[in-house]
C-alpha cells in the first residue's frame, strides 16, 4: 500500500516560531534578522514557566523550549512532539522557543546538551524532554486539584483541558498556569512516562513547525542578520593547508569605496572589512597577499595516494580492532580467494549557506549570531577569542542553512569573526565566506583506501575476511584525546564487532581480521553527515557483492546466511528486499543492487534499481531504503531524512576533492558536482521499527545509498566499481 502523506494540517498563517527580543536584538528595529532567543526577562516573568521545558500562556499557548539545533532535519518539531505528548496539550497551540547557551549556563545547564550531531538530537534527549513535558502536566493538574480541593488523582487531562468528572468541573492549562508555576517542579526520576503505544502526538506524521517562514523568505538565517552600523567582512586563508600569511598591502585597496580596512585574522588568514559584503569581497580579490605556503605545497592527490598505498601493507602504525580466529590462515587455505581494493576520496560538506556569523565585541561584552550545531561550543569559542569570561558572552543560534557535521565542534567561523570584530570594537561585523573559501577550507570527509580479502570454502561459504583500511583519521585532526594507545577505532565505524559502538558489523565470519592503518595528510578532515559509515559501507558492502558473485550466490541470500546472529540487521535487510520486490522481474536493462549497514544506533538497508547506457550514463530509477531506528517520532520527517540521504549519498558517487600543489582544486559547483533534481530516483521509505531502543535518523541511511547503487551498476555491467568517483570509470549519474 502506498501512502502519500496527508498530514494533520495546522493553521498555515500562524507563525510557529517565537522570535524574542534580546539585549542586543537591534535587528528588531529593522524587522529583519531577529535573533532567535528567549523573550526578555520581563516577558519571562509574565509567562508562567512549568519547569525548564514548558511555558503556558494565559491564552493556552504552549511554548516548548528547545536546546538542540535545527538544520533541516526536523528535530525541533520532533522534540516538541515528545514534550507535547507527555504534556497532553493541544498540538495546535504549540510554539517552540530555542534557548541560548548563555541561558543554559546561567541555569546550570538545565536544558543539558545543546550539541546536535551524530544523529543524537532526539535519541539522546527524548527521555528528559518527555519528563519535562510530564512534569509540567503534573504541575498543572496539581494546581487545578488545589483550586478545587480534590485529589489530583481524580483529574483527567486531554488537549490542554483538565476535568474532574465527579464534580463536572473543567479548566484549561492557561487558566491554572500561573498558580502551577509556583509549585515545585517534580523530580524527573519518579516520573512515569507514557507507553509509546498510546502516543497521540509523538509517533504521528505531524507537519513541521518551521515550514511557513521557509516559503516566503522570512526565515531568519544567520547570513540574513542586519544590525545597525554593521560592517561586513570577506576572508581568505592561505589556500595551502598549513601555510601562513606573511603580509598584505592594505594601501592597494584602502581607498576603494566602502572599505574600512584589511586586517590580519590569524596566522594564516586576512580579511577585508567594508560597508557591504560585495565591496569587501571585491577588495579582498584585489588585495596583494604574500603567503608562506609551507611544506604542504608539495602535496598532491598523487603523493597522498602513495601514502595510503603504503598503509595497505605496512606493519607500522596499524592495529587490528577485530581479530577472530585466524583470518590470514583461513584465507590462504581457502578453496577460493577474493581480493579487491576500494578507494573513496575527500568530499566536502558544501552547506548551501556558506560559513558565516556576526560578532560584536566591546570592553565587557561579546555576542555572536551564528548557525551552529553546537551553540555552547560557539559560546566557548567566542569567550576564548574575545578574552571575556563566558558570563559576559552570549551566542544566538539561527536555523542552519545546512550543517552536515561542518558546523559542530570546529567553530573556526566564530574564532575568525571574533578575531576580526575585536579590531572593530563595539561594531557588529558579519563575516561571510565565499563559496570558494568554503570549499577550500572545509573539514573534509576522510580519504581512504581499503583492501579486502575473503576466503570461500568449496560450498561458497565465507570462512575468512580480512579488511585493511589505510586512511586519514578525524580524531587525529580534531580530537586526538579520543585516540587510546594509538588506536583510533572511530575510523572503523560500522565495522565494529561490539554493539555498544552504535555501528556494529552485521556479519558473522569465523575468521575475521579488521585493521586500521592511520595515514594522516596535511588536509583537514572532520565529520561529514554519516561520517565513516559512508566509506566503510562502500568498502564492505560492495566487496560482499563481489564475494557473493564469486560464491555463485544471490547477494541477498549470501548476506542472509551471514546475518543469522544479527536479527535486527537481518530484519531491515529483509524489509528493504521485500518492499523493493527483490528477485521479481524488472524491465529490460534495469538491474538491482542491495546493501545493508549500521550507524548511529540504527539498522539500515537499501535496494537500488539502476540502468547503465552504452555511453556510461547511470540512471537510478528507484531506491527503497529501510531503517529500524527503534522508536520513531514522526514518520514524515524520517522519510524526509531518508529522501535527503539519497541526494547526500550521491556525493559518494560523483563528487571528489582533489589536492593540487597542496590546495583544493574544486572550488565551486562548476567543478564539484552536487546532486540535482533530475538525477534523483523515486525514493521509498520503509520504517521497520522494533520499538525497543532509540536510534538515530539523520545520518544512518546515507551509507547504504552509494553501495546499493554501485552494486546495481556491478549487476548491470558485470564490472565492480572500486574507485570513486564514477567518472574514473567513464560513468556519469544522469
Amino acid at each position: 500500500m502506498k501512502k502519500s502523506q496527508r498530514r494533520n494540517t495546522p493553521n498555515l498563517s500562524r507563525r510557529r516560531f517565537i522570535v524574542g527580543s534580546t539585549a542586543a536584538g537591534g535587528g528588531l528595529a529593522l524587522g529583519l534578522g531577529i535573533p532567535f532567543g528567549i523573550g526578555s526577562a520581563a516577558a519571562q516573568a509574565a509567562d508562567p514557566e512549568l519547569g525548564a521545558w514548558v511555558v503556558v500562556k494565559p491564552d493556552d499557548t504552549v511554548v516548548i523550549r528547545i536546546a538542540r539545533a535545527e538544520m533541516g532535519q526536523g528535530t525541533h518539531t520532533g522534540l516538541a512532539q515528545l514534550v507535547a505528548e507527555e504534556l497532553e496539550c493541544d498540538w495546535n497551540k504549540v510554539t517552540i522557543q530555542p534557548i541560548t547557551p548563555g541561558q543554559n549556563l546561567a541555569r546550570k545547564r538545565v536544558w543539558r546538551n545543546m550539541s546536535t550531531g551524530g544523529s543524537r538530537g532526539i535519541r539522546e534527549s527524548q527521555q528528559y524532554v518527555r519528563q519535562g513535558g510530564a512534569a509540567a502536566r503534573l504541575m498543572l493538574t496539581q494546581a487545578a486539584a488545589k483550586e478545587w480541593g480534590v485529589p489530583a488523582s481524580e483529574l483527567a487531562v486531554a488537549n490542554g483541558v483538565i476535568t474532574h468528572a465527579a464534580s463536572g468541573r473543567s479548566t484549561t492549562y492557561g487558566k491554572v498556569a500561573a498558580a502551577a508555576s509556583k509549585l515545585p517542579v517534580p523530580e524527573f526520576k519518579g516520573i512515569k512516562l507514557k507507553d509509546p503505544k498510546s502516543w497521540k502526538i509523538a509517533g504521528k506524521p505531524m507537519k513541521r513547525l518551521d515550514t511557513a517562514p521557509k516559503v516566503n523568505g522570512s526565515h531568519p538565517f544567520s547570513i540574513d542578520l542586519r544590525l545597525p552600523g554593521m560592517l561586513h567582512a570577506a576572508v581568505k586563508a592561505c589556500p595551502v593547508f598549513g601555510g601562513k600569511l606573511v603580509s598584505f598591502d592594505e594601501s592597494a585597496i584602502k581607498s576603494r569605496r566602502g572599505v574600512r580596512g584589511a586586517v590580519r585574522v590569524d596566522d594564516a588568514t586576512v580579511a577585508v572589512v567594508a560597508d557591504n559584503w560585495w565591496r569587501a569581497k571585491s577588495a579582498l580579490d584585489a588585495l596583494p597577499i604574500v603567503w608562506d605556503e609551507g611544506p604542504g605545497a608539495n602535496q598532491s592527490s598523487a603523493t597522498i595516494m602513495e601514502q595510503l598505498k603504503e598503509g595497505l601493507t605496512s606493519t607500522e602504525n596499524v592495529f587490528a580492532d577485530t581479530n577472530d580466529g585466524d583470518a590470514l590462515a583461513a584465507i590462504s587455505s581457502a578453496a577460493k580467494k577474493v581480493e579487491a581494493t576500494y578507494f573513496t576520496p575527500f568530499v566536502s560538506h558544501a552547506c548551501m549557506e556558506p560559513m558565516n556569523c556576526t560578532v560584536k565585541i566591546s570592553n565587557d561584552r561579546a555576542e555572536v549570531w551564528m548557525p551552529s550545531q553546537n551553540a555552547e561550543a560557539s559560546l566557548a569559542a567566542l569567550s576564548a577569542v574575545s578574552g571575556l569570561p563566558l558570563a559576559q558572552c552570549e551566542a544566538y543560534n539561527h536555523g542552519l542553512g545546512g550543517g552536515f557535521g561542518r558546523r559542530g565542534g570546529t567553530q573556526d567561523f566564530v574564532r575568525q569573526a571574533g578575531a576580526i570584530a575585536k579590531q572593530f570594537p563595539g561594531i557588529p561585523v558579519k563575516m561571510l565566506w565565499s563559496r570558494e573559501e568554503d570549499q577550500a577550507h572545509d573539514f573534509f570527509r576522510p580519504i581512504g583506501l581499503c583492501r579486502l580479502t575473503a576466503g570461500l570454502d568449496q560450498s561458497g561459504n565465507l570462512t575468512g575476511l580480512h579488511v585493511r583500511l589505510a586512511g586519514q583519521s578525524i580524531n587525529a585532526y580534531l580530537a586526538p584525546h579520543n585516540i587510546k594507545d594509538g588506536k583510533d577505532r572511530r575510523q572503523l565505524q560500522g565495522l565494529w564487532k561490539t554493539l555498544n559502538g552504535d555501528a556494529q558489523i552485521g556479519y558473522t565470519v569465523p575468521n575475521m581480521r579488521i585493521e586500521y592503518a592511520m595515514r594522516n595528510t596535511h588536509v583537514p578532515v572532520g565529520p561529514w553527515r554519516g561520517v565513516n559509515t559512508n566509506q566503510n559501507g562502500i568498502y564492505l558492502e560492495c566487496f560482499i557483492d563481489e564475494v557473493a558473485r564469486a560464491a555463485g550466490k544471490d547477494p541477498l541470500q549470501f548476506r542472509r546466511a551471514l546475518m543469522q546472529k544479527h536479527p535486527k540487521h537481518l530484519g531491515v535487510l529483509n524489509a528493504a528486499a521485500e518492499k523493493a520486490g527483490w528477485g521479481k522481474p524488472l524491465p529490460a536493462g534495469i538491474h538491482r543492487g542491495i546493501a545493508q549497514f549500521m550507524g548511529y544506533g540504527s539498522y539500515t538497508a537499501a535496494v537500488a534499481e539502476v540502468s547503465v547506457s552504452k555511453k556510461g550514463e547511470v540512471k537510478v530509477h528507484r531506491m527503497v531504503l529501510a531503517t529500524d531506528c527503534g522508536h520513531f517520532v514522526n514518520s514524515a520527517t524520517v522519510a524526509a531524512q531518508v529522501e535527503g540521504s539519497v541526494a547526500y549519498g550521491f556525493d559518494s558517487l560523483q563528487s571528489q576533492i582533489t589536492i593540487e600543489k597542496g590546495r583544493v582544486a574544486e572550488l565551486n559547483f562548476n567543478t564539484y558536482p552536487i546532486a540535482r533534481l533530475a538525477q534523483l530516483p523515486k525514493v521509498e521509505t520503509v520504517i521497520a521499527p522494533t520499538y525497543d531502543f532509540w536510534g538515530g535518523v539523520g545520518e544512518p541511511t546515507i551509507c547504504v545509498t552509494a553501495p546499493a547503487v554501485l552494486n546495481a551498476i556491478y549487476a548491470a555491467t558485470g564490472k565492480p566499481v572500486r574507485t570513486l568517483p564514477l567518472k574514473n570509470h567513464g560513468l556519469t549519474l544522469v
Binding site: V215, I223, E353, S635, A636, A640, E643, N670, E684, P689
Partner: protein, 168 residues
C-alpha cells in the same frame, strides 16, 4: 540609480557592476534571496527579471535598471502563490536555505508551462538543494499545477512480519 523591486522603486547609490543579488540583500535589505555560489550554478539567488527567472548573483545591478525585479518577498501576499501553498502542504523545506530560489524557479516554470511533465520539471529545476528535498519539490510542482501526478513521499511502516502497520 533606480531599481524596481517587488513593485516598489528604490533609489540606490551603488557601483553599476555590483551583482543584483548584493544590491537586493545588502543595500535594499531584502534577505529572502540567498547567496550560494556566486557563479550562477546553484540557483539560491533566483529572482524574476521582467518575469524571467535569473540568477541574481551573476547579473550586474545595472542590467536591472528599468526592469521589474520580483524576489521571494514579492512572489505573493501571505504566501498565497500556488507553489508556496503546495510547498507547505507537502512540507518541502528542510533547512530552507535554497527554497526561495526553488520557489522562484518553480513559479517561473508554471507561468510558462502550467502543466509540466516530469521531464519539464527535470529541465527547469536545476537549483541545488543540499538537504535533498527534490522528491517533494517535484511533487509540490505537480500539486501546484494540479497535474494529478505528484506522489510525494512514499512511506511504509512495517511490523516484524513485514506487514504494513497502521501507525503511519
Amino acid at each position: 540609480m533606480q531599481i524596481n523591486v517587488n513593485g516598489k522603486s528604490h533609489e540606490i547609490d551603488v557601483e553599476p557592476e555590483m551583482p543584483l543579488l548584493w544590491a537586493i540583500r545588502d543595500v535594499i535589505g531584502l534577505t529572502g534571496t540567498k547567496y550560494g555560489c556566486g557563479i550562477a550554478q546553484c540557483g539560491s539567488c533566483t529572482v524574476h527579471l521582467d518575469g524571467e527567472p535569473v540568477r541574481s548573483c551573476s547579473i550586474p545591478v545595472s542590467a536591472a535598471a528599468g526592469k521589474r525585479v520580483v524576489t521571494i518577498e514579492g512572489l505573493s501576499a501571505n504566501s498565497s502563490h500556488p507553489v508556496q501553498k503546495a510547498w507547505v502542504e507537502l512540507d518541502v523545506p528542510q533547512c530552507g536555505y535554497c527554497q526561495s530560489g526553488q520557489l522562484m524557479a518553480a513559479a517561473a516554470l508554471l507561468r510558462k508551462n502550467p502543466k509540466p511533465t516530469d521531464k519539464d520539471i527535470d529541465e527547469a529545476m536545476t537549483n541545488i538543494c543540499r538537504c535533498g528535498t527534490y522528491q517533494r519539490i517535484r511533487a509540490a510542482i505537480h500539486l501546484a499545477a494540479r497535474t494529478g501526478k505528484g506522489i510525494g513521499s512514499i512511506i511504509h511502516v512495517v511490523d516484524a512480519s513485514g506487514n504494513e502497520a497502521s501507525q503511519a
